[in-house]
């Protein structure tokens, strides 16, 4: 085919098409790098969000529902379910060592079962490290030393219990989100070190002190409610902090604390308790006055019952990867229906909220998806410059090659044949540019962290600051399907840019072309 021969010759003898190729290379690389990094960011966000909530949550907020142990048992017996765990979610007020009070989300969980559903042990920050994190060049991370201390912290964090040395017994403990107290300092290498704050002393003075949250005890206040949802009393306890967690989602790390489920149930009056059956006790609230002697005595209720313990949620983890958790949610709904039919006093299935991890993170995930889409749209729009550049270069080349077009027509080349010369040319430039751009994007994305570090060291330019973003390193994975779409887009853009000049070449009169000077 003469089109192939001419395309090859024009490609190897002209500078201008190489410039067009470079434009395609840069545009392709720009779009693919952006898409890969933003896509990786979204993927990390989704993974982080899932870490704390499992795949599906069955929730009846505030007052909760009883007999949850049976629901957990039924769920765990199902082949679609890997594990299930109870949880209470409430709001609480904590009093911190520096005198501040903070409103937090309190999640009451059992360490073991919660870990089976969410693998939250992976998020526990204070743990022994044998290798420094990627950007910690000087080994500043506290976790690299005193491994036995961190091993103890890790075990306590996972169990949500801590040894009270004075009483020589284990007591319920809390695990804080790493940003809740605000004492930890985010370092440039992405990790945390405990900060120094002014702590009020017993004599009323202030003293600079390094606050180790994992060795502190905080005051936790919760508002207990009765089963009808009415506020009963404020419950206050001293709770030691066993560890801190870093989920990767700022909102969670800033607002959430995990506390032993049993303690939270006690504080919220949601634990198992004996209750007097209405009408079975004397009207005098148990105090009886002997009419003969006038002495008061206590008369127990004639009839009591046991209120079962309650939780506000049961979290479920499905078997396998659960890319689409909706079938699991549907199965959970069926199981809950059977559970509700078997017990009295549990909320009807219609009132229960069964939400997937996607439903619970919808706002955040949608925002990042929209941002990714917006950035891609803007960059794709900018990439139109490559189309215009190819068009301009080809337009100019058609002018330059007008006489050649006349010669081709004189030896019998058809209009479409002449047009195909330019379309093939555009296709070749698009292929070369897009493939090279794709390769460049691969090279940059795979090495984006070393490149970023180098830019920081040499130019002082830090775009991805680990103190701002919750992922220490920039996502560095190119997905093949995205690469194929972007490369094809580059090729199509180049061909589109060549279409108008090709049509112009085809419409040239052969006689005028031959006489063109």
């Amino acid at each position: 085919m003469y089109q192939t021969l001419l395309t090859r010759k024009y490609l190897t003898s002209k500078i201008m098409p190489l410039l067009a190729s470079v434009a395609i290379v840069l545009c392709t690389a720009m779009v693919l790098i952006t898409w890969s990094v933003m896509g990786g960011f979204l993927k990390s966000l989704v993974a982080s969000g899932r870490t704390m909530i499992g795949d599906v949550a069955i929730t009846f907020p505030n007052v909760g529902f009883p007999h949850y142990q049976d629901l957990v048992r039924r769920l765990q017996a199902d082949p679609m379910v890997e594990a299930a765990c109870p949880m209470i979610e409430s709001y609480g007020l904590i009093h911190l060592p520096d005198g501040r009070n903070e409103l937090v989300v309190v999640k009451g969980v059992e360490g073991d079962s919660y870990n089976r559903v969410t693998e939250f042990h992976k998020t526990l920050y204070w743990r022994p490290l044998t290798e420094p994190v990627p950007k910690d060049e000087f080994g500043d991370d506290w976790r690299l030393r005193q491994h036995s201390l961190w091993a103890g912290r890790l075990a306590d964090g996972m169990a949500l219990r801590e040894m009270d040395t004075q009483r020589a017994q284990e007591v319920p403990a809390a695990v804080f989100g790493i940003e809740v107290a605000g004492f930890n300092i985010r370092e440039v290498w992405g990790g945390y070190t405990p900060g120094v704050v002014r702590v009020p002393q017993s004599d009323g003075t202030l003293k600079d002190q390094t606050v180790l949250m994992f060795e502190s005890t905080i005051t936790l206040n919760l508002l207990a409610m009765d089963p009808t949802g009415r506020s009963v009393e404020t419950s206050t306890r001293q709770v030691p902090v066993a560890n801190e967690f870093q989920s990767g989602l700022y909102d969670i790390d800033k607002q959430t604390i995990l506390v032993d489920l049993g303690l939270v149930q006690q504080m919220l009056n949601m634990d198992e308790a004996e209750r007097i059956v209405a009408g079975s006790a004397p009207d005098t609230h148990g105090v009886v006055v002997d009419p003969a002697t006038g002495r008061e005595s206590f008369e127990p209720a004639r009839e009591t019952t046991v209120d079962p313990a309650r939780v506000t949620s049961v979290l479920v983890r499905g078997k396998g990867k659960q890319e689409d958790p909706r079938p699991l949610a549907e199965r959970c709904r069926e199981i809950y229906r059977d559970f509700a039919a078997a017990h009295t006093g549990v909320p009807p299935p219609e009132n229960i909220r069964i939400a997937t991890w996607e439903d619970q993170n919808r706002t955040l995930i949608s925002a990042v998806k929209k941002e990714t889409g917006l950035v891609l749209f803007i960059f794709s729009f900018i990439s139109l410059t490559a189309v215009i550049l190819v068009l301009a270069i080809f337009w100019s080349m058609v002018s330059e090659k007008t006489k050649d077009i006349g010669v081709l027509r004189s030896i019998g080349a058809s209009r479409s044949g002449v047009a195909m010369v330019w379309i093939c040319y555009g296709l070749a430039i698009g292929l070369i540019g897009s493939i090279a751009g794709g390769a460049l994007a691969y090279a940059i994305v795979w090495n984006i962290n070393p490149i970023h570090d180098w830019m920081g060291q040499q130019l002082g330019l830090v775009i991805w600051d680990p103190r701002v973003y919750y992922f220490v390193t920039i996502p560095s994975e190119v997905e093949t399907d995205k690469a194929v779409i972007v490369v094809l887009g580059g090729v199509v853009s180049s061909v589109l840019g060549a279409l108008i000049p090709a049509a112009r070449a085809a419409m040239l009169s052969p006689v005028k072309a031959l006489r063109f000077e």
């Binding site: 003469y2 006489k403 081709l408 004189s410 019998g412 058809s414 044949g417 009169s509 052969p510 006689v511």
Partner: protein, 238 residues
């Protein structure tokens, strides 16, 4: 029956708001194997006549003055664009005054591109045929050279080789020696003569030079877009 019949050909170009008639009823008949020179001054319409015969351009259509070009019994005016493309690729070979070689291609590629455009059954043997023609023109050692590395005479020989690669029935030469010195021009005419001796190739050559026209079998004089006279050259002694 003549291979080519041109009857009452009209062609007017429009320059701005002015119509400029170039051909005003030119008529001509060319037998198969004949070498016809169209002699005329600059602006007489000889190149336009050649372009119309070669199907590069179309004549005016005036119902009051019927005209036409018939090649081997086929009316060019009735041909659609695709047929004209095929006609140029198979039946006609063009040689231009300024050679019109493609500068990026080598000598052999410039010749072969015509066979690539034609895509006929002889495409497979085209490289051997091109090499043979170029060898006959004394260009065997120049196959890999670019046009810029050749002299004017060599370039014109490459152009003739390109015109002949598809073995057309009609060779159209537009001032083939017009851009060459006399000696080189004569060498080109000698080369054309050798081809004719061997293949009885039909040739129509336009020129403004009577001495060049004298190499043809027949000379047709064109003035103001009309054939005003013609005369044949006496047959040479064998």
């Amino acid at each position: 029956m003549p291979l080519l019949i041109v009857e009452n050909l009209q062609k007017t170009y429009r320059l701005g708001r002015v119509d400029v008639p170039v051909l005003r009823g030119a008529s001509l008949a060319v037998e198969e194997g004949e070498f016809v020179a169209v002699l005329g001054a600059s602006g007489s319409g000889k190149s336009t006549l050649l372009h119309l015969i070669g199907g590069l351009d179309t004549p005016d259509r005036d119902p009051e003055r019927p005209s036409g070009i018939t090649f081997d019994g086929r009316d060019l005016k009735a041909m659609v664009t695709r047929d004209l493309d095929r006609y140029r690729a198979r039946d006609v070979g063009f040689v231009f005054q300024f050679y019109h070689l493609l500068p990026e291609l080598t000598v052999i590629q410039n010749v072969l591109i015509a066979s690539m455009v034609r895509r006929g059954p002889g495409a497979r043997s085209a490289p051997a045929r091109a090499a043979e023609i170029l060898d006959a023109f004394g260009l065997a050692s120049r196959l890999g050279h670019r046009p810029a590395q050749l002299s004017g005479g060599e370039r014109q020989r490459v152009a003739i080789a390109r015109a002949l690669i598809n073995e057309p029935r009609l060779l159209l030469a537009d001032e083939p020696t017009g851009n060459l010195d006399r000696k080189t021009g004569n060498a080109i005419l000698d080369a054309l003569a050798r081809i004719r001796e061997r293949t009885r190739q039909t040739v129509i050559m336009v020129t403004h030079d009577p001495s060049v026209a004298a190499r043809a079998d027949r000379v047709v004089n064109l003035e103001d877009g009309r054939v005003v006279s013609e005369h044949s050259r006496p047959l040479r002694d064998s």
